[in-house]
């Protein structure tokens, strides 16, 4: 059933030609060694897996390094405002309840971390403990002084005079008496009669 341009070809012949052409296009097969290649590929790790493992390992190593660097180079100076337990509010609460602060340093240094790194010059610790027998009266905020670590290049802080805070005196609220004026009497309502409707123009 040769079919060439210009010749009249039956519908069935064209269909058969299409079927045959498509079948020929799909007449492909693997070679005999395909099975062996697959089995060999199963026994050797694929490059994708190797790269995936390497990528995961690299990310994990980067995270560990980042944590280490952060711990070594992070902020070392503890300030009272950064430590909630030592914030002024704590002393204020103690004064309000009449509970004296516990004897000992109010400012807590970074004793635990600094014990591991005593050579760091920027670290300030509570190296000057208060007298354990000191009793602080209620209503008084006590500030303590942290001295520099021996060998530190920083100059030690000077003592600060105790600050006395006068307790607040609550002011009583005395509202003035409320007087309600009597309502005015209501006058009679008068309704005027409706006028006659005017014709529309």
């Amino acid at each position: 059933m040769p079919a060439v341009p210009g010749q009249v070809e039956s519908h069935g012949a064209i269909d058969q030609a299409i079927d045959r052409a498509v079948r020929e296009m799909m007449e492909v097969d693997t070679d005999a060694a395909f099975r062996a290649r697959v089995l060999a590929r199963l026994e050797t790790p694929t490059p994708v897996t190797w790269w995936r493992t390497a990528a995961v390992s690299a990310v994990a190593a980067s995270l560990v390094l980042a944590v280490l660097v952060f711990r070594l180079e992070g902020p070392q100076l503890d300030t009272p405002s950064s430590r909630p337990m030592d914030a002024p509010g704590t002393a204020a609460r103690n004064s309000a309840t009449g509970t004296p602060p516990a004897p000992g340093p109010v400012l807590r240094g970074t004793a635990r971390r600094d014990a591991a790194r005593p050579a760091r010059a920027t670290t300030i610790v509570a190296a000057a403990p208060l007298n354990a027998n000191t009793s602080v009266p209620a209503g008084m905020v006590v500030a303590t002084v942290a001295a520099a670590e021996p060998g530190s290049a920083l100059e030690a802080l000077h003592p600060i005079e105790p600050i006395t805070i006068v307790p607040l005196e609550p002011e009583a609220i005395a509202p003035r008496a409320i007087v309600i004026a009597p309502l005015a009497p209501i006058t009679d309502v008068q309704i005027t009669p409706l006028s006659q409707a005017v014709d529309r123009n």
Binding site: V4, E9, H11, D15, A17, A21, M26, V28, T30, F34
Partner: protein, 226 residues
């Protein structure tokens, strides 16, 4: 249940024989082959690598042709077919047999082939100005048409077949995939539907539409079309 590949080979040989009395029903043969595949899967799941090797041998052509239909490249199809069997080996423990092994295998092969085709297409888009344009800027279907008309003295059926093959390459991908898979004769419409993830009715429509487009193009080139 067959105990070895020999019994399946015998049944396939019977299928291939010319005697009408010996030719079994294709549906029965598929069921038998599917049951044997399932037996091999069970053995492979238990750690029998030889059984998996038999699964590869029995299904490699179907997998390879599916990949070839999607990619049109023998090398890419071979690589995708290998990847498919590696993936199947890794996922074999999770295969429960809800669908036939062959259908499951072909679905994986088709997905991998599509992934490869997307990557190949992306690369081609970066290097070639147009998908269906020849280096001299001429559309492929126009070139096919002019080539066919310029060889009117060929008068051979092979010319028509060559033309059809070239025209198949110009079909929309969805139509071309369905036409090639159905035309190969290796897959049922149900398997093609599962591979393409479309209903069987849509598969049939795409095949029909592909043929209609081919005939219309052939008619425009001078071949008869009623």
């Amino acid at each position: 249940m067959p105990e070895s590949t020999d019994s399946v080979s015998v049944s396939l040989a019977l299928m291939a024989s010319d005697g009408p009395a010996l030719r079994p029903d294709p549906a029965d043969a598929r069921a038998e082959a599917g049951a044997f595949d399932l037996e091999l899967v069970r053995r492979a799941q238990a750690g029998d690598d030889q059984a998996f090797g038999q699964l590869v041998e029995r299904n490699r052509r179907a997998v390879y042709r599916a990949a070839y239909a999607a990619l049109g490249s023998a090398d890419d199809a071979d690589d995708v077919a290998q990847e498919t069997f590696v993936t199947v080996y890794q996922k074999l423990k999770g295969f429960r047999g809800d669908a036939s092994f062959r259908t499951w295998l072909l679905s994986i092969a088709w997905r991998k082939a599509l992934d490869r085709r997307r990557s190949v297409t992306r690369w081609l888009r970066l290097t070639v100005t147009h998908d269906r344009t020849t280096p001299d800027g001429q559309d492929l279907s126009d070139r096919v048409q002019s080539t066919a008309r310029s060889q009117e003295d060929g008068l051979a059926a092979d010319e028509l077949h060559r033309t059809i093959k070239q025209l198949v390459g110009t079909l929309p991908r969805k139509l071309r995939d369905a036409l090639l898979l159905a035309g190969s004769g290796d897959y049922t419409y149900d398997q093609i539907g599962r591979m393409l993830e479309i209903p069987v009715g849509t598969v049939k429509w795409r095949v029909s539409e592909a043929r209609r487009m081919l005939k219309r193009k052939l008619a425009a080139m001078g071949y008869a079309h009623d």
